[in-house]
């Protein structure tokens, strides 16, 4: 046990390095995109027609008159220590705003991930354990069709039917800041379902493919021929061999959730991290966009990193 733990701690830095490198490159691209290309945050905040003196004063106030390399390192250091900088628009630190929105996004994403685990994964297993049957084909076709529908279309159709048509849920999920997202669960249902639908069809397809491949393997066939009943074949012979691909499929749902949240949160007016990114882009708030965008990208990269870990034999247990 201690040997295993020691080998883990020795391996972890090597596994973390590629992900950290990706994040470094992403942060550089993000810095370029929000700070340098279009004119800096000060001129963005004051607009094109502001007097040069005012822009210069704000620039000095925000430390934008320093060389870009120094500002980048400073920003990067701030990200690592949790200091996300001060918005040129609101003159407030953006860290607390980002943290509050991220917390609400986490509630949504956790709910969606729970649906993926409880619905999409079993659906993928059932479809894959008997490949080629009508049930398998229906599941595969449905997942593939759902996967291609943009989230905002799904969101609007759900709002039309379940909020306005049937009146089961509120059409807008604007949860108040103080009480937290969990205080009003009815508002969470539709955004969570929308988010889970797309990520879930992606995961279900991956799980189905892995299970279908394992279902054709000789030892599963042998178990079936030996007259072992189907549930036991599934539990004892099929599933143990696909644990790693299933973990991988789940981890790969995380980037989907992060990307999909951009649209889903905006469509439902849910004040989460991704809606904050979209809002910051619309308001041209560079510092807020940089911080929130970096956090969202980090979530996606983490998902890919976890998937890669799950795919390595020594981790699959």
């Amino acid at each position: 046990m201690s040997g295993r733990a020691a080998s883990l701690s020795r391996r972890l830095p090597r596994h973390l390095a590629p992900a950290a490198l990706v994040l470094l490159v992403v942060s550089f691209g993000l810095f370029l995109a929000v700070e340098i290309l279009p004119g800096d945050p000060a001129s963005q905040a004051l607009g094109m027609n502001a007097e040069p003196e005012r822009t210069a004063r704000l620039r000095a106030e925000l430390g934008l008159d320093r060389p870009p390399a120094e500002r980048y390192l400073d920003w990067l250091g701030g990200l690592l220590t949790g200091d996300f900088g001060i918005s040129a628009l609101t003159r407030q630190p953006v860290g607390p705003v980002i943290a509050e929105h991220a917390g609400r996004s986490l509630v949504l994403a956790a709910g969606a991930l729970a649906i993926v685990v409880c619905v999409a994964v079993p659906a993928g297993i059932l479809a894959g354990s008997r490949p080629g049957t009508a049930g398998d084909r229906a599941t595969s076709l449905g997942a593939l069709a759902l996967l291609s529908v943009p989230e905002f279309v799904l969101a609007t159709l759900l709002i039309t039917v379940f909020a306005h048509g049937l009146g089961w849920f509120p059409p807008v999920s604007l949860v108040s800041g103080g009480s937290g997202a969990l205080a009003e669960p009815a508002k969470l249902v539709l955004p969570t379902v929308t988010l889970a639908a797309v990520a879930g069809s992606f995961t279900a397809r991956l799980v189905r493919a892995a299970v279908a491949e394992a279902a054709g393997s000789p030892h599963v066939e042998a178990a079936r021929l030996a007259g072992i009943r189907e549930p036991a074949v599934l539990a004892r012979h099929l599933l143990p061999s696909v644990r790693a691909p299933i973990a991988q499929a789940l981890a790969l749902a995380i980037p989907y959730l992060a990307g999909g949240a951009l649209v889903v949160e905006t469509a439902f007016g849910y004040p989460g991290l991704a809606a904050l990114v979209a809002e910051a882009a619309a308001n041209r708030d560079a510092v807020l966009l940089g911080g929130a965008g970096m956090l969202l990208a980090a979530v996606a990269v983490t998902g890919f990193w976890l998937a890669e870990l799950a795919g390595r034999p020594q981790w699959s247990g």
């Binding site: 490159v25 370029l32 995109a33 291609s148 905002f152 279309v153 609007t156 951009l262 990269v301």
Partner: protein, 268 residues
Amino acid sequence: MVRLTPGWLLVAAPGVVAATVALAGPLVVDDAATASRGRPFLPPGPGIPLGTDHLGRDVWSMVLDSGLTLIVLPLVATVIGTLIGASLGLLTGWRHGALGALAVRASELLLVVPPLLITVLALNAASGSGTAVLIVVVALLGVPSTMRFTRAATSAVVHRGYVEHAVAIGERTPTLLVREVLPTVAAPVLADAGLRLVGAIYVIASVSFLGLGGSALGHSWAGMVADNVVGVPLNPWAVVAPAVGIVAVVVSVNLVADRLADTARRSV
């Protein structure tokens, strides 16, 4: 080769209908048809089969008039991206050098950040100057996948007899790639381009729903959905009609491209 079966027709039909409406619509509709008819969000009635939208315009005429954007822009972006990606894939698959490996590694960076986030950031950097930037970004977003796919397909072809024969008789590399390799990998690459098209429609539609990407995008089925969602209790058709159009296009293209890609992959 691919045969046309009833299954194929069934899967392709909704997309063909929606695309026909989108492509032919602007020819049918004149300025008078898209002028305001009066109050916003009127329910369907005589002369207004799907009611009116947020500006009191006839929804059916607006659907006919604004379908083109979500077909043409993604198509242009996909063609550009496929040309770049397939060329890079052919070259790096032909010669397995350090440069090719580096290109694949670098392209992975584009794959780990959500495409929509990249697009939003790029549009922000472009100061909202819109459609041209959007096409370039969406085209580039498709390049990594196309490149990896073409590279793999090319690598599989390189050592076949007829290619080695052409190398032996001293054909020049560009001639070789175009005459011997390209015809074999063209079908799978085109099928892959279909999947890229779905991705392009997804990103462009989502960006226009978010209200980014310039005024040209506001005039689209996605823009209609965004504009009319407040009026759903009064006239749901103003949202449902363009939404159904988008669903018909993406689902058909995705299902057809997936089948084609499957068949093509088996043939390589």
